[in-house]
Symmetry: C2
Subunit: 153 residues, 2 copies
């Protein structure tokens, strides 16, 4: 298997220091570029209202990664789902991905709302949300997903 | 800088073998899990209509990566934008991210529509699109983005 080697482009600064399942909606956090990257990489980002942030769940222990299927949140009322049919953090490659609202940018730091990543989390990419990249058809999802998400934001 | 080491979880099989800017909307492709991963990792994925696919632009040469800002697609009618204010492939960490429509799943292979990645591209993660993870406020974006996207799909 080819290994792919990445580096953090930024880190999260958040008042939330411990992992928590729910209530992320009001959380404001900063994303601060690593010293190697110029603030030019963020030029014009304020012209977008929302960003996609790809980050790395660095606190997940390798032996906890689900390599098959499991009940979401361990809840047996939910069907067993493959790890790629869930957004659970204990997943191969430990990648997180969330749409956040951009509040402001000052130099090498952006302030965002709704980033579900704790303080210190390495960020691997930031992309502007363009409406053309949103789903172009109606979304269908199983009932458990809505139930699981009811206190998330 | 801490290095983060990832592995492909799947590869793209597509009739599109060469990189092209536009007309991705009708492209159907397959995502085939690597041999190390069980098809259990995809269990129940058919209950979602759309997936987010994170992939690796492995054909991008390191020396072409934009480490500051540039005119999107080299078009001087568009403003200079930081690389994290664009979705250009020649970016730090070379990560691609697209929402695709799931057409079907058979064993370790899913068939999707609208994946803008060529044949052989390594896939790093697949996540189900849940409507609760879409932007929760209205999207604002600059005019150049809509112009650039007009023939994309």
């Amino acid at each position: 298997m080819t290994k792919i080697s990445l580096q953090a482009i930024a880190h999260v600064r958040s008042t939330r220091k411990v992992i928590k399942d729910d209530e992320w909606g009001g959380v404001e956090s900063e994303i601060v570029l690593v010293d190697d990257l110029s603030s030019d990489t963020l030029e014009g980002i304020e012209s977008f209202s929302h960003l996609e942030v790809i980050f790395y769940f660095d606190k997940v222990e390798d032996q906890k990664i689900v390599m098959g299927s499991a009940h979401p949140r361990g809840n047996r009322d939910y069907p067993k789902m493959g790890i790629f049919a869930q957004r659970k953090k204990s997943r191969p490659n430990k990648l997180g991905l969330t749409v956040v609202k951009l509040l402001k940018r000052v130099d090498n730091t952006i302030t965002v709302q709704g980033l579900d990543a704790i303080d210190g989390t390495p960020v691997l990419d930031i992309k502007p949300v363009m409406k053309e990249f949103l789903p172009r058809e109606e979304i269908r999802q199983p009932d458990w997903a809505g139930d699981l998400m009811k206190n998330y934001w």
